[in-house]
């Protein structure tokens, strides 16, 4: 079995790796690039714990092959904070106690970021349907949804402020 | 002499069906020893699977839990949880 040589960017940084043809992007992130923030809850696209953004699209990294990452821009949970400044989603998750065990949290944060990237002002129901691919067994989703809606408002405000030169 | 009540049927086979006993014992530990003397094997059964409730408070494993005459004393199955 020969390995594939893949070049891609992960969280803005260029990476190169070798991977087996059957290895998923999730395996590559976790086992080859040491980015264990993306989690495997099912390996079959049903739980969303492995959510990543590939070229702007939200995907389950357990459903794509590592080899398919060639030339693509991948965003993972590790790239969500800017240095030591948390993303508003991360901050609101903490304030709302939107995590208990925290295992689903990276996937939710990445999925929520993808939501707010394309819909900065989601309704509760839009947020619930968008995040329906992410399972959380601990929280009953209540605080997660509140955190996402509050973070959306924060981001809108920050954007508005920027626009008005504040 | 404290009166000991036994919940359920788990130890009936030791006590010949009795579910309430007067036992000369002032702590849970002495109670276990005394009951085991009277009904061989019962002591181990209590150690393994029963807790003691004294006046409504459940003690899982406290040998020193004091037994007073007039107290309500129950041996009940041990409880754990999820």
């Amino acid at each position: 079995m020969s390995k594939h040589h893949v070049s891609a960017t992960v969280n803005g940084e260029p990476v190169e790796f070798l991977c087996e043809p059957q290895e998923t992007l999730l395996d590559v992130l976790r086992d080859r690039l040491n980015l264990t923030g993306s989690k495997e809850g099912c390996g079959s696209g049903d739980c969303g714990a492995c959510s990543v953004i590939v070229d702007g699209r939200l995907l389950c990294s357990c459903l794509i092959l590592g080899a398919e990452a060639e030339g693509r821009a991948i965003e993972t949970i590790e790239g969500l904070a800017q240095g030591d400044k948390l993303h508003p989603l991360q901050q609101r998750f903490l304030e709302h106690a939107a995590l208990q065990c925290g295992f689903c949290t990276p996937g939710f944060l990445v999925a929520a970021k993808a939501l707010l990237d394309c819909n900065p002002d989601p309704t509760e129901s839009e947020a619930r349907f968008w995040l329906a691919g992410n399972l959380c067994r601990c929280t009953g989703y209540d605080k997660i949804i509140r955190a996402v809606l509050d973070a959306a408002a924060d981001l809108r405000k920050a954007k508005g402020d920027a626009r008005h030169g504040l | 002499m404290p009166r000991i009540n036994i919940a359920g049927n788990a130890v009936k086979r030791f006590t010949h069906g009795e579910t309430a006993l007067d036992v000369e014992a002032d702590t849970f530990l002495r109670l276990i020893l005394e009951l085991d003397q009277r009904f061989p094997g019962l002591g181990r059964q209590i150690e393994e699977s029963m807790a003691i409730a004294i006046d409504g408070e459940i003690y899982q494993d406290a040998y020193h839990a004091p037994l007073k005459p007039g107290s309500e004393i129950w041996l009940i199955p041990k409880i754990a949880g999820g």
């Binding site: 209540d142 | 041990k78 999820g82």
Partner: protein, 757 residues
Amino acid sequence: MAYETLRVVGTRPIRPDGVDKVTGRAQFGADMTMSGQLVGKMKRSPHAHARILGIDATKALALPGVKAVVTSADFPEIPDEMAFVGEGPMNFRDLSCNCMARDKALYEGHAVAAVAATTAAIAEEAVALIEVSYEVLPHVIDVEAAMAEDAPLLHPRMITQGVSPAPTKPSNIAKKIVFALGDVAQGFAEAEAIVERKYTTKPVHQAYIEPHACIAAAGSDGQAQIFSSSQGQFMVRAYAAKLLGMDIASIRVTPAEIGGGFGGKTLVYLEPVALALSRKCGRPVKMVMSREEVFKATGPTSGGTVSVKIGAKKDGTITAAEAVLKYQAGAFAGSPVGPGCMAAFAMYDLKNVTITGYDVVSNRPKVAAYRAPGAPISTFGVESCVDELARKIGMDPIAFRAKNAAKNGTKAAYGPTFRDIGYAETLEAARKHPHYQSPLGKNQGRGVASGFWFNIGGESSAAVNINEDGTAVVVEGNPDIGGSRAALAMMAAEVLGIPVERVRPVVADTSAIGYNFLTGGSRVTFASGMAVVQAAEQAVAELRKRAAISWDIPVDDVAWADGKAHATGASVGKFQPLSLADIALKSARTGGPIGGKAQINAQGAAPGYGTHICDVEVDLETGHVTILRYTAVQDVGRAVHPSYVEGQIQGGVAQGIGWALNEEYIYDKDGRLENPGFLDYRVPVCSDLPMIEAVVVEVPNPRHPFGVKGVGEVPIVPPMAAVANAICDAIGVRMPDLPISPPRLRAAIDRRAEAAE
């Protein structure tokens, strides 16, 4: 010490481990690596019930990259006896046989061998190359079928306990238990209305999102290390030692962050196997389950049948109650039918009551604890029956419950008298809640149900170390499954009188702190909290002593307040207060490091009660049920961190709704699980649920310094009946069988239509 004004307890600080968990830095079970590690994989039985005639690993071992294979022959044979380590009584022979089948495979997915290899792909190939010859045996899945005279026997020596005279023939009934109070026949004779019905529930999985994972390394010196995700590092250590015949001191277990457990991680599945593989090849072995393995070989909780009969007078007084519970234990004895019996009627003050329970084995994975183990099943039956009875005599369901509610002084069906309980308070809060008065539309209905759980205390160790800059470290030994670090740090901060941000809690490995019973039974904030409080109080006593030494005054003249030592009594006003940091900085001159330590068996746990209100809308076309609104009221004693208390309640409710509407284990005719994945085993997702309002009632527990009772288990107890009662209110159809999935509800609606024609 009494704490009258609280500054930290009851506030909502950001949890100390929060940033790690929102940035992906937190290390869960599968995130750890060791140099030279191998990958371990399990070979599992494809049969529900089969004798293992032989295992041939020759071909697997010949595969390049394969380093070790283990089977039951690599585990010491353990005598068939009970011991009490960890989660209550445990038959270690059964636990050993569950980790690695001996002689017989008892369910599909039962481990029969394991391989360690250099890569996952090689390990998988090797698993396929292990040849197991089986004699397939007849199997039995359902509880009543397993109880039948002619059912295939799982354990040829199983004689039902709790029956006298003891049966002479073996059966699949491990145990019969009976609790009785008063005279039930007399009670039913006095009743003016009686409801009697049989309810069934299906096994459901805890479905934590993190699959089981561990890494184990054995050295040639006989010392071993395990890093794993579990509900208790001390439980893992004890079980691994017992199953492998090792000394406890030779095993060091470091707890990973745990990605959910709900009771399902109170047992070991992988750790002893990974360690046995590592012992054989001398390299670290990492094992991670797939989701399919999690469904097939771990958890779930019992399914069962619950027959309930309750009689009442027209004024609503219950005169008698009776229940018969039959719980599936899975392949080995030990369903939670005992607590199921004890919790069944714990909401009510009953004069005449009988509860009978059966613990029944069948060819399914051995059940594991799941939040309030046993109680949700019996309570579904009882609270559905209570609802029907209230309707029958035309009483409001909350008023009916209030009339019969257990109070301080009520005698439980299992004997003792309740004290410090807050059930009536939850009913009152539910009755007064605006939700209860709000209007309903067409095909909409409202259901109410209550629930009970014991909550436990147990063995706990904690240390509080004061650092030289005036910060503090809390060392504790319970995996943090839902924010307990925050609660424990808050309690320490409260006692020390410093901001919670200056307290760092650490969940220690088994070599760094004394024994702790596992994270379960809603015990950590209560029991480990009590240990932390005592350790912090000891540290405060030491801090006062050191201040007294610095000032050269008697220690009795030093008081501790607001994180500072104050001179009092004869010395009042003579000295500037000394802060914790001032004292800590000088500790070398006043006697050395400052800290406190407590190792206790926490007594005085108090039971919890909840009352839930659920609104549903039923789609008559499809049988689909929408949860419109949900309010869960619970007595928690005192909420240390209210957000995490609410979170526990909301999460428990969501699991209960899944149990009510969708979740079930489905078997084919060969006893193979048909839905071992999240696609077909459907847990509630975001879009299935509304906001869940958690209403916290605080009836303090006088035995805890801050009044804490347990929180995490009660909320899963009422939802199944609350949902079923709401459906009945909406469309007049009583659904006694769970889950109330769309096809099932649609069929019931059709049956009613046919009956009406």
